[in-house]
């Protein structure tokens, strides 16, 4: 019996009423409309980032979440205050969905002093501890052990918080992943690792497909080696993600044991804004996935159920465009950071800056 069938609808797992599959979530139109708006927020924000990059307002490296919106939107709907969220470098949606002000997120990408980390980090390195974002990380796989550590501390301190640990398919061939998964499984035996591993399997680690990096392409099943149960979810279908998200976060919260959900998704955008011409995939493949675009799928459902009509959808999108225009304007007009910031926060505590200037 797979972990999936064991856990789906298992009476032993207490789930929030509205999160049962086919139950309140599916029919709670208002909630879905709300989440639709969040997905539009993420998409519109990401498109504005791409524009900002093309205009030369955003420099460096930029990785957008276009095509994957349902994953973070669904899982972060199950976020509770006090939980920790840690992810890799495709991190804008996590900040936005946790409630970081889009203006400060955009300003960070523009390298401004009003940025979420004062212009020090940029796109890949968002941080907003107050909102639960314990960082976007640019070293693939490097953040995974950290999340497992967060989770242990949460139990040790007798809280019911959990860590939502996002990782990409590309991270799973990295040693840091295997080392962390191993100890998470072990600590979980004592209920000391409330860590929900959310694999954002978008099929490619940069330009190399899952099939070309591992003979064992069932990524969730890799966790079998570490005694951690797992399931897969259609990461393009918000309702499916939502159901899995609420059920599994509550399960992890309850048991203190790690759990894995592999969300099968696809970034229809290039890997990075300066992607190497996308030689690694075909236009047909991208087109095929675009037909299952998470926003398109949700719109279809909302229309079919008469939750919204075409006019309302357009209205939501155009309102969001205006909001994000303001966001970009704020970022553009913000001041550059003061140079003292380069030297602030090097050491914690009362230590003065001790380096050479």
């Amino acid at each position: 019996m797979s972990a999936e069938s064991e856990n789906k609808g298992d009476g032993g797992v207490e789930t929030r009423e509205e999160s049962r599959n086919g139950g309140a979530v599916a029919t709670n139109g208002e909630h879905l409309v709300d989440l639709y708006k969040k997905m539009i927020l993420v998409r519109t924000f990401e498109e504005a980032c791409q524009r900002g990059f093309r205009q030369g307002k955003i420099g460096g490296y930029l990785h957008v979440y276009i095509g994957q919106e349902a994953v973070a939107t669904g899982f972060l709907d199950a976020y509770k205050e006090g939980d920790a969220v840690i992810t890799a470098y495709r991190d804008h949606p996590h900040a936005l969905l946790l409630g970081s002000d889009p203006k400060n997120v955009m300003a960070e990408l523009y390298g401004k002093g009003t940025g979420i980390v004062k212009g020090k980090g940029g796109s890949m390195h968002l941080f907003d501890v107050k909102k639960g974002l314990y960082g976007g990380y640019g070293i693939v796989g490097g953040h995974i052990p950290l999340g497992v550590g967060f989770a242990y501390a949460m139990r040790y301190q007798e809280t019911d918080h959990i860590c939502q640990l996002y990782l990409g398919d590309g991270a799973m061939s990295n040693g840091a992943f295997h080392e962390a998964a191993n100890i998470s499984g072990l600590w979980g035996k004592d209920g000391m690792n409330p860590c929900l591993f959310i694999i954002e399997n978008n099929q490619y680690g940069m330009g190399t497909s899952v099939e070309r990096t591992t003979a064992m392409t069932d990524l969730a099943a890799k966790f079998d080696a570490y005694g951690i149960e797992h399931e897969k979810v259609d990461g393009m279908d918000l309702e499916a993600v939502l159901e899995a998200a609420h059920r599994t976060t509550e399960q992890v919260r309850e048991t203190g044991k790690p759990y894995v959900v592999e969300a099968l998704t696809y970034r229809t955008a290039p890997h990075g804004a300066g992607d190497f011409f996308e030689k690694y995939r075909t236009k047909d493949e991208v087109k095929k996935w675009r037909e299952r675009d998470p926003i398109g799928l949700l719109e279809h459902k909302l229309l079919e159920r008469d939750e919204l009509d075409e006019d309302k959808l357009e209205e939501i999108k155009s309102e969001m465009k205006e909001t994000i225009q303001e966001v970009s304007k704020f970022a553009d007009e913000s001041e550059e950071p003061a140079m003292e910031e380069l030297y602030s926060d090097v050491y914690s505590g009362s230590d003065e800056y001790m380096g050479e200037e």
């Binding site: 955003i58 420099g59 460096g60 490296y61 960070e108 390298g111 401004k112 002093g113 940025g115 212009g119 020090k120 980090g121 940029g122 796109s123 890949m124 390195h125 990380y137 640019g138 070293i139 693939v140 796989g141 490097g142 590309g170 991270a171 061939s173 990295n174 040693g175 840091a176 680690g205 940069m206 330009g207 190399t208 070309r212 990096t213 591992t214 190497f276 030689k279 690694y280 550059e336 950071p337 140079m339 910031e341 380069l342 030297y343 090097v346 001790m354 380096g355 050479e356 200037e357």
Partner: protein
């Protein structure tokens, strides 16, 4: 003879070595089908096939460690670490294993492997795409650390690195990949490791630099020659470890003054080693303090543009330091 930029020259050197020696192979993240994020390995997979040009998972420890295994068994792997910032997981393999094999095996084994490492601050690179890591590895006997700056040198040195029986870390400054073009010979040639190059003769002071800073230093040296009649001798180590002390000392003994410029965080940087050697071995020739310029001691080349511009020693700072020392 055709003009080539740095990345083309390195790519050409790699391809030529692969043509002439079938044990030479390339492995790394997206080096094959995608041709490398900086395009250095473009075309290699088409020409040499997937068994000699291997796309690896995102796993640097594996890349370096597998290269060791390949190298001690008759292959000459050229591993690419996509960004220098990604090298720490491979640190154990490089420092604890590759650098020591020859020593610990009574000379029975050696690791003829090359690890190409794009490094240096680039706009927007910030925390994980900007670091200068040379100091970490210049404290590792058994390993060679090279950092060519000009295209023709780089082509000749990638060949020497591949042919060298030891593990060689081959540093390539990202911001210089397309910065300049120069004539690069078509015929087979190599540039020896361990030999510095004097770029411009001078009598007033010696500047030692490499990477992007070398380009800036040369530019400033020309400027102050024109404006102030101060003649700076510019020495490029090309190989950092083992260092060609003699060329540096000869120059300092002539000029009596030394300024070392690198982009690494100043404290603990390799420029300190150069300063120490000169302070000891050219003490009696010195007519001024040994000076260094480097990045401030902060954890990252911060993202915002003015911070990055401040982080990397600028032409203005370099000019001020050169003038200060020349007038000392």
């Amino acid at each position: 003879m055709t003009t080539k930029n740095l990345l083309q020259a390195i790519g050409e050197g790699l391809a030529e070595e692969m043509r002439s020696d079938e044990t030479v192979m390339v492995l790394g993240e997206d080096v094959g089908r995608a041709g490398g994020v900086f395009r250095v390995t473009q075309g290699l997979m088409d020409e040499f096939g997937p068994f000699r040009v291997m796309d690896t998972p995102l796993a640097e420890s594996l890349i370096a460690g597998a290269a060791i295994g390949l190298s001690v068994n008759g292959m000459r792997p050229v591993a690419e670490i996509q960004f220098a910032d990604f090298i720490p997981p491979a640190f154990d393999q490089i420092v604890n294993e590759a650098a020591r094999f020859h020593y610990r095996s009574n000379g029975a084994w050696s690791c003829p492997m090359t690890i190409r490492v794009p490094y240096g601050a680039v706009p927007g690179g910030a925390l994980y795409h900007s670091q200068s890591v040379e100091a970490w590895f210049c404290n590792t006997p058994g390993l060679k650390v090279v950092a060519p700056t000009f295209p023709a040198d780089a082509k000749g040195m990638i060949k020497s690195a591949i042919r060298d029986p030891n593990p060689v870390l081959f540093l390539e400054h990202k911001r210089t990949y397309r910065l300049i073009k120069e004539d690069v010979p078509e015929e087979d040639y190599s540039v020896p490791l361990g030999k510095a190059r004097v770029h411009r003769g001078g009598t007033d002071l010696t500047v030692v630099s490499y990477g992007l800073m070398l380009h800036t230093a040369l530019e400033v040296a020309r400027k102050i020659s024109n404006e102030y009649d101060i003649e700076v001798e510019v020495v490029e180590p090309r190989t950092l470890y083992p260092l060609d002390k003699e060329t540096i000392l000869d120059s300092v003994k002539k000029t009596g003054k030394l300024l070392v410029i690198s982009e690494a965080n100043l404290t603990g940087s390799f420029s300190g080693e150069i300063a120490a050697i000169v302070a000891r071995e050219a003490f009696e020739w010195l007519d001024g303090p040994v000076m260094r310029l480097g990045a401030p001691d902060v954890p990252a080349a911060a993202f915002a543009k003015p911070m990055l511009d401040f982080f990397v020693p600028s032409a203005e700072k370099i000019e001020a330091a050169m003038l200060e020392l020349a007038r000392y």
